[in-house]
C-alpha cells in the first residue's frame, strides 16, 4: 500500500493507512502494537498532544500496568513502555495531530503543524479516552475564582509543566483518581485539608485505602457536596453542604480539585452519527468493539468512563483481532441482543451481544454502580424471565468499575429481546 504525501491544490495531504487509530493512550497504543505486525499496510496512530501516551503521561505515581504488563509501574514509565512497544511493532505515531472531523465513512480530517491531512483508512479505531467534568458541567455556583482544577489539569500543571498551585486544597471526590490528585498536590507542596464525597463512604482501591490514608490522613466528609465557590480573582474558600442535614459550612482553601465525574471524549463518534449509549455516553459497541458504523471501532475509556489503564490497554489489544477480521473481509454475525443496565447500575458495556462474536475482554462485563453493595446478587432478565442469577464476592461500589463474569450470558436467547442487568437484594 502506498502513502501519498504530496499536498493537493488546496494544500491537503492525503494518507491511506490500512488502519488509523485516534488517540495514543493505553488503548490506542495497545491496538497499534497488536495490529502493526499483522496488517499489510500502515498502522497510523494520531494524537493531538505533543507526546504520545495518553493520561498516564502526567499521572506520575505507581499503579499502572498491573493486568496488562503484570508489573507495578508509574504512569509516565507505563506510557513510555507502550509507546516503545507500538513503535517497535512498526506502527507510525504522529503527535500534534488533531482529528477535527470526518470527510467520509472512514476518512478523517486532521490538523498538524506539517499541514492539513486527509486520512483515508481501511478501518478506524476511536481511542479518545475520557475527561473529568469541570466546574460548569457540575453547575457549581459562585465566583469565577482562579484555583479550580480537574485532576487532569492539575497533573498537567504539576507533572508536565512543573508549575505551581496553591497551599490549601479541597478535593471533591474520594475515589481512585481523587487519591491521585492528593498525591500530586503533595508533590506540589499543597496540603489537602478536606476530601468530600457525596457517597456514604469514601471509595478507592485498597492500595490507597490502606497506604494512602495512613499516609495522608486527610479528613473525608461523606455525603457532602461543594455548593459554592467563593473568592475572586483568586479562590478563597468553598461552601460545602451535608446532603442529609442540609447543613452548610465554609472551608477556607486556595485550591479546589474536582475529581472523577467522567465523560467520554465522544465528539468524533457523535460527529460521525455513531449511536451512543445513553448510560456511558460513549459509542454503543458489541463485544468485538464494533460501533454501528462499519469498519469503525471504539476502545478504552471512551467506552467505559473510567476504568484503569490496563483494562483500556487490554481493550485495544482485543479489538485488534476484530479490526483484522474486518480488513480480511470478515462479516458481522447476524442477530443481536441489547444489554441494558438497571438501577443501581448506571451503565453496562459492551451493550450488544452477538452469538459467534468473541467473549468480552477478560470475560467480564463492565458496569458502573451508583450504590455500594458489599456482595451483590446480579440478575439478568430477558423477555420477562430471569435468565441468570449469581452472587458475586466482590463489592459494587460507586466511583469504580464493577466487573461481572460474562459467562452469565450463556443462557441468554440470541434471538430474544433486550437483556437487563440489575441486582436482587
Amino acid at each position: 500500500m502506498s502513502t501519498d504525501t504530496t499536498p493537493d491544490n488546496a494544500g491537503v495531504t492525503t494518507l491511506t493507512p490500512a488502519v488509523v487509530i485516534v488517540g495514543a493512550g493505553p488503548s490506542g497504543l495497545s491496538a497499534a502494537r497488536e495490529l502493526a505486525p499483522r496488517v499489510r499496510g500502515e498502522v497510523l496512530v494520531l494524537d493531538r498532544e505533543s507526546a504520545a501516551g495518553g493520561i498516564p503521561r502526567h499521572s506520575d505515581h505507581p499503579g499502572y500496568g498491573i493486568r496488562d504488563m503484570r508489573r507495578f509501574m508509574s504512569g509516565p514509565a507505563y506510557a513510555r513502555r507502550l509507546v516503545e512497544q507500538a513503535r517497535a511493532a512498526g506502527a507510525t505515531i504522529r503527535t500534534n495531530a488533531t482529528v477535527t472531523g470526518w470527510a467520509g465513512e472512514r476518512t478523517l480530517e486532521v490538523t498538524t503543524p506539517q499541514g492539513r491531512l486527509r486520512v483515508e483508512a481501511g478501518a478506524v479505531v476511536l481511542a479518545t479516552g475520557a475527561r473529568e467534568r469541570p466546574r460548569p458541567g457540575r453547575l457549581i455556583p459562585g465566583d469565577r475564582g482562579r484555583g479550580v482544577y480537574t485532576t487532569g489539569h492539575l497533573q498537567n500543571i504539576v507533572h508536565l509543566q512543573h508549575g505551581k498551585v496553591g497551599r490549601r486544597a479541597v478535593i471533591a471526590g474520594a475515589e481512585l483518581v481523587s487519591w491521585s490528585a492528593a498525591l500530586t498536590l503533595r508533590e506540589a507542596g499543597c496540603a489537602t485539608v478536606l476530601m468530600t464525597t457525596e457517597y456514604p463512604r469514601p471509595d478507592s482501591y485498597a492500595l490507597f485505602n490502606i497506604g494512602g490514608r495512613a499516609f495522608f490522613r486527610p479528613r473525608i466528609a461523606t455525603r457532602t457536596r461543594v455548593s459554592r465557590i467563593i473568592g475572586k480573582p483568586d479562590l478563597r474558600a468553598v461552601e460545602i453542604e451535608n446532603l442529609d442535614t442540609g447543613a452548610r459550612r465554609i472551608v477556607e482553601c486556595d485550591t479546589l480539585v474536582l475529581t472523577g465525574d467522567w465523560i467520554p471524549d465522544h465528539e468524533l463518534a457523535r460527529a460521525a452519527g455513531i449511536t451512543l449509549d445513553p448510560g456511558t455516553k460513549g459509542p454503543l459497541v458489541d463485544s468485538a468493539f464494533r460501533t454501528d458504523r462499519p469498519g469503525v471501532f471504539a476502545v478504552g475509556n471512551l467506552l467505559h468512563p473510567v476504568d484503569t489503564a490496563d483494562i483500556a490497554a487490554i481493550d485495544g489489544a482485543r479489538a485488534a483481532r476484530s479490526v483484522l477480521a474486518w480488513l480480511n473481509g470478515g462479516s458481522t454475525p447476524d442477530g443481536q441482543v441489547r444489554l441494558v443496565a438497571e438501577a443501581p447500575f448506571r451503565w453496562v458495556t459492551p451493550e450488544v451481544i452477538r452469538r459467534g462474536d468473541p467473549a468480552p475482554a477478560r470475560r467480564r462485563l463492565l458496569l458502573w454502580s451508583d450504590r455500594f453493595i458489599p456482595f451483590p446478587r446480579v440478575v439478568l432478565r430477558q423477555d420477562g424471565k430471569v435468565v441468570a442469577r449469581k452472587r458475586l464476592w466482590w463489592p459494587a461500589s460507586p466511583g469504580r468499575v464493577f466487573r461481572v463474569p460474562s459467562i452469565m450470558l450463556a443462557s441468554v436467547n440470541p434471538r430474544g429481546g433486550p437483556v437487563s442487568i440489575g441486582v436482587e437484594d
Partner: protein, 491 residues
Amino acid sequence: MSTTDRNRTANGDASATFDVVVIGAGIVGSAIARKLAGHELSVALLDARDDVGDGTSKANTAILHTGFDAKPGTLESRLVREGYHLLSDYAERTGIPIERTGALLVAWTDEELEALPGLKEKAERNGYDRTEIIGPAEVYRQVPHLGEGALGGLTVPDESVICTWTTNLALATDAVRRGVTLLLNRRVEAVEERGGTTVLRTTGGDVTTRWVVNAAGLGSDVIDRMFGHDRFTVTPRRGELLVYDKLARPLADKIILPVPTSRGKGVLISPTVYGNVLLGPTAEDLTDRTDTGTSEKGIAFLLEKGRKLMPELLEEEVTATYAGLRAASDHSDYVIDADARRRYVLAGGIRSTGLTAGIAIAEYVAGLAGEAGLELVPREDLPEPPRMPNLGEAFPRPYQDAARIAADPAYGRVVCFCERVTAGEIRDAFRSPIPPAGLEGLRRRTRAMNGRCQGFFCGAEVGRLLESRGACVPHENREHGGERRSPEARR
C-alpha cells in the same frame, strides 16, 4: 495635533493634556473614542480594568437586535435600529463574526398568543416590518426540538448573533490605530475643574483633558455625580446564563425568544457564533456592582425554564456558566446628554442593548459634543479598520485553513483542543495592538480554554503560553513523554 502624538498608541502616556478622555473601554466607550479619533483631536480611552471590554460588554447574550421590541419613540429604539445597520456593516469590514440566524418569539399561553399582533404592530412602529405571525405547526417546523405546548409564534428574520468580544476589541483596536491613547488600570475617583481643563484623579495618576465623555457603564452614575449632576441611579441587574456544549448546536439554529411580559424579557435560547447554545438570562436586581458570580437560585431557575423550552438541551453538557450586570437605571431610556459648561458628555443607562447600539451611540454622542462646542474637524488620513481574527464557526478558522498552515506551521499546532485554538492565534493575540493582560483576556481574543474540558487537557499549556506571552518554545519535557524529573532535581 502632530502625527507622532497621534501614533502614540497603547503605551499609556498620560502626561499631555488631551482634547477628550472617554471613561470606560466597553463597547460604548470604545466606539465613542474611535468616532472622535476620526477628527483632529487627541483622544484617550481610559478604564479602571487592565483590559478593554472587561465589564458588561464581555458577558451578555450577544444578540444583534433589530430593535423590533423597543419602546417606540425612545432614543433607545432609534439608536438600536441605527446601530443594527452600522454594526452589521462594520462587522463585514473588520471580520467580526455574525450569523444571521433569525429569531422566533414563541407563545406558550393564550395571553402570550394574544400579545403577538400587538408585538407585530410595535415592531412596525419601530421601523421593522418583516415579522410574521405563524401557527404552531410552522413553529415546530422551524424549531423541531422545541418543548411541547407552543401555541404560535412571531418570526423576526433579521435578529442575529454576533461576537461581543471581537466587537469591543475591534472598536478599541481601531481607536488605537487612529491614535487614541489607551489608559488602563486607572479608576477615576474624583474630578477637578482647573482653568478650562478637567483633571481626572485616577488610581493610576492624574489625567488632564479639555473634554470628558462618561461611558462608564455600571459606574456612570457615580462619575456623573462627580460632575455635579444628580439625575439617575444605576441598579446592577444580574443576568445569569448557561452555555451548552457545541454538540447541542443542531438543537437550536435560531434565537428562541419568550413573549415579553410586564415581568421583563424572560429567558431565551440562542445559538452563539462559537457554535454553542445559550440559555438565559435571569434578571435580578442587586446592590453590589461587582457581583458577577452565579447563584444556586439562578441556575435552578434557568434549568426549570430550559426543561420546558427545550428538554433535549438539558441532556447536553454545560460548558460554561456566567453572569453579566446590566446597568439598569431609573429612567426608561438611555440617558445621553451634553453639558457644555463642564465640557462633559454622559452616555449612561445603556442597559440591555448597548452591544447593538454602541456605534450609533457614538455617532449621537459626537453630534451632541459638537453642538456643545467640541471642535470636530474630520481627518483625511484615517487608517483602514483592523481585520480581526475570526472566532466564529461560520467562517474558516486557522486550524481548517491548509494554505495558512502551510505558510505558518503555528496555525497547525492546536493548543486548545475543544475550541481548536492554535499556537499561531495565541501568539498573534500577544502581538496585537491591544494584547491580553491575562487568561481572561486571552480567552476573549482566541476562545482558548473556553471549551468543554475547561483546561483538563490544555489548561497547563495555555497557562505556559500566557507566561511566555505566546512564544512557542517547545517544552523540553513534553518531547519526552512526560519523563519524570525527581522533585529533588527541581528544588
